[in-house]
């Protein structure tokens, strides 16, 4: 059993990575309230999800957490220090793999290093990039161009690019929603494996209830207009999670309670 599972089952309260307090975000001179007083904490080594219908402000929340967008009010602390812009200890993944077509797979993975520390440092990190490719099952595709990769393979390369700089926390914006369902299930389990191996803290945005329940220790349910966290649901299923758990009664109970919260949020 990994350290992550032990922590969860022992019920200790681990050091928190993210501390978000009263974060709001207004657009159009305050006429549109995208986020309204969102507070949550992400303890170290835990996997949290935010679920909500489209337009509930979950991507805005993620951008604020990533330092890509300033909050209108409230505070965001990462590892005890305020987030005032993009940081090297944050790894991000988007809905699209966003690989640059003129760079080979390994050059794409080394992009964050090349940008932050120069081409030489990136060359020096090449063996580590190759290790990461092996970790996600892409060994042998180092010198392939993105056009030669399938959608799932491209997203695996994006996972490597996110992990190359050893981030403290992973921010995932619907990373597999553009993939077909069969590939998505598989990639979710891969993501869990990668996270458990590195004891990574992760924060996932999704609109799939089963994906949220399958991967998360805590699911934050959001309502739209204004974007609020309605409730945070703890998922007490053992790790590692498997696809067989989808048919467990506990799984169904969690999914149903989240669905009820979403329905309530949608009609409020």
């Amino acid at each position: 059993m990994s350290a992550l599972a032990k922590l969860v089952s022992a019920g200790e309260s681990p050091r928190s990575v993210y501390e978000i307090t009263g974060v709001s975000r207004f657009f159009n001179d305050g006429k549109v309230v995208a986020l309204d007083g969102v507070s949550l904490t992400l303890p170290k080594g835990e996997f949290h999800s935010v679920i909500g219908s489209s337009g509930c402000g979950k991507t805005t929340l993620l951008k604020i957490m990533a330092g890509l967008l300033p909050p209108s009010t409230g505070s965001v602390l990462l590892g005890g220090t305020p987030v005032l812009g993009p940081r090297d200890d944050i790894g991000m993944m988007f809905q699209q793999a966003t690989l640059l077509p003129w760079r080979t797979t390994v050059e794409n993975i080394l992009l964050p290093i090349a940008v932050r520390h120069g081409q030489k440092a990136a060359q020096a990190e090449r063996p580590r990039a190759e290790q990461l490719l092996q970790l996600v099952g892409l060994a042998g595709f180092e010198n392939a161009y993105p056009s030669e990769l399938s959608g799932g393979m491209a997203q695996r390369a994006a996972i490597c690019r996110m992990l190359i700089s050893d981030p403290e926390v992973l921010l995932l914006d619907e990373p597999f929603s553009a993939l077909d369902e069969i590939t998505r299930d598989f990639m979710n389990l891969e993501l869990q494996r990668v996270c458990m191996e590195r004891e990574a803290s992760a924060f996932l945005i999704t609109h799939s209830i089963s994906e949220a329940v399958l991967l998360s220790d805590v699911v934050h349910v959001m309502s739209a207009r204004p974007g609020r966290v309605v409730q945070s649901v703890r998922i007490n299923l053992p790790r590692p999670r498997t696809l067989e758990m989808l048919s467990l009664p506990e799984f169904g109970a969690c999914a149903t309670s989240i669905r009820n919260l979403l329905d309530k949020g949608a009609f409020l």
């Binding site: 890509l68 993009p86 940081r87 991000m92 809905q95 966003t98 003129w102 940008v115 161009y145």
Partner: protein, 288 residues
């Protein structure tokens, strides 16, 4: 027969429904055949019309006269007569004009595509000048730069600079929102984002502008010569037309078009070489 799972169409009492897709005759013929046939029909029509006596040879020379003149001009170009000198004059106007257009066009394009000031303040003026009939500036260039090569170079560059500005500026906006967010999240500087993201992702659009420019630059140089004299091919055309030597005009135009084909081919080859990841527009001529 009861445990047979796979019934063939025949045993099930149904005949196979195999049918042949109809393909039009012209789709089955190789491309070069269709092209040759069309060219032959065109030449046949030309010859028939010119020998019929319906059209004066001053307006439409016979095919044979034109071919004979084409051969004559070709010979004198190879042998290095005054025609070759004229060809080099026009070719150098085209090359210098294109080089100036690329230098100015890329600089303006980066200003317009990369800076807010350029986009808001400079772009409207570029669009305004672009809508002017640029060829009307020819007399101005002659009075500013004289009857020599300078005024032709200026007109060629002036006419071909706009597609390069627009192509460069549009190209710098081609990177997707996700790609920009990625570069923002890895704390790339503005220069890094420009060099590592915006310029490479803008190359296809840049080359589209360059291809349009590579053709219009020849037109600009020749227009300059027709309107401002000089020693180039345009002057030869003007002189031949004044002497009602229509076959000569035709063959000079055909040799002149080689210059345009050469420029276009060169740019297309560079695009094929440099934009290896996106070859969708390489094979097409001037994509819209």
């Amino acid at each position: 027969m009861t445990d047979q799972v796979y019934l063939s169409a025949e045993t099930a009492g149904i005949t196979d429904t195999v049918w042949v897709e109809t393909k039009s005759w012209s789709a089955r013929v190789p491309r070069w055949v269709s092209m040759t046939v069309l060219m032959a029909l065109f030449l046949l029509g030309w010859q028939t019309l010119s020998v019929s006596g319906l059209v004066s040879p001053l307006i439409l020379p016979t095919l044979s006269d034109t071919l004979a003149d084409l051969e004559f001009v070709g010979r004198s170009l190879v042998s290095g007569s005054y025609m070759l000198t004229a060809f080099w004059v026009t070719a150098s106007e085209v090359l210098v004009g294109f080089a100036i257009a690329v230098a100015v066009g890329v600089s303006l394009g980066v200003l317009v595509g990369e800076t807010t000031f350029g986009e808001r303040a400079v772009m409207p003026y570029i669009v305004a000048i672009d809508t002017m009939p640029k060829i009307a500036f020819a007399p101005l260039f002659v009075s500013w730069l004289g009857f020599g090569i300078g005024s032709k170079v200026a007109l060629a560059a002036f006419i071909s600079v706009f597609p390069i500005v627009v192509g460069t500026a549009a190209g710098l906006h081609a990177a997707s929102a996700n790609e920009r967010m990625l570069f923002q999240s890895i704390r790339a500087s503005r220069l890094q984002t420009l060099v590592m993201l915006k310029i490479p992702s803008g190359l296809p659009q840049f080359f589209t502008g360059l291809k349009i420019a590579s053709i219009s630059v020849v037109g600009g140089a020749v227009a300059g010569e027709l309107l401002g004299g000089g020693k180039g091919f345009g002057e030869l055309i003007r002189a031949a037309a004044a002497q009602l030597d229509t076959p000569r005009v035709f063959s000079l135009i055909i040799y002149l078009s080689l210059l345009g084909v050469l420029m276009f081919g060169l740019v297309s080859w560079m695009q094929y070489k440099f934009v290896f990841w996106d070859r969708s527009s390489t094979t097409r001529s001037t994509p819209q």
